[in-house]
Symmetry: C2
Subunit: 142 residues, 2 copies
């Protein structure tokens, strides 16, 4: 994965039904799960949980990129910003920028990526910085 090159990871259409299902299970605040109450909120309707939006980003990033590398585990998300509401019908596109690779112990690297999820108007709805441990030498190299 080259530096300074944003990799587009594909798109995901989110429905209001899925927003309500995710919210009901993991983030049951009224503005994620109750269309009638949410209609009277600041947002005028149900919006996706930030964890749902983050999960959509993760799914797209894993499918496009992570499975090509020998990722050991995520370590930290250093800044996860919820910039715009996500609603049913939105089509979200993830992109990833490789920010840094630092050598770590035992043939590992600490890899930092910066990710963005944009809606169908190209407006960022979420940004995040993720540190992961990645094996720098695969078994087949040894």
């Amino acid at each position: 994965m080259p530096f300074d090159e944003e990799i587009v990871c594909g798109s995901y259409a989110v429905s209001e039904q899925e927003i309500i299902e995710f919210g009901t299970q993991w983030d049951p605040q009224y503005f994620h799960v109750d269309p009638e109450a949410a209609a009277h909120s600041t947002f005028g309707g149900v919006i996706a949980s930030g964890l749902h939006t983050t999960s959509i980003f993760q799914r797209l990033a894993v499918q496009a990129i992570y499975t090509r590398y020998d990722v050991i585990a995520g370590r930290e998300i250093r800044s996860l910003r919820f910039l715009r509401p996500v609603r049913g019908g939105d089509v979200l596109t993830a992109s990833v920028l490789l920010h840094s690779v630092e050598p770590a112990r035992r043939g590992r690297c600490l890899v930092t990526i910066m990710g963005t999820l944009r809606n169908q108007e190209g407006v960022p709805v979420l940004t995040l910085e993720v540190d992961s441990l990645v094996r720098s030498q695969t078994l087949s190299d040894g």
Copy 2:
């Protein structure tokens, strides 16, 4: 919610089946979804996606605390650390510490909480800092 007082939010038992289901939908890396391949990984078995663990924290915090306040929306998670692997059979307990309340525009406050999720041995598996916008004056106050 008082300052400097950790509020315990309840517990959640996570199964390996749920770990695999969450991973399959949102974070399909082999160490979240494939018990056989994960057995040969650094962790020796399937571990929960960090987003799954974060979702468990959120569910417990919402049920115990958030619904008592007029939360408008989450704005940012500033540091989300995955400290220990979470496995099927773990029982996770969330706690929340109110860190700061800053006045914001239009009768709102920016509230920062620090959250911790511990396993059945009392060991932190996840910590996070969350900024949320909360209405400081409810309609009934007006």
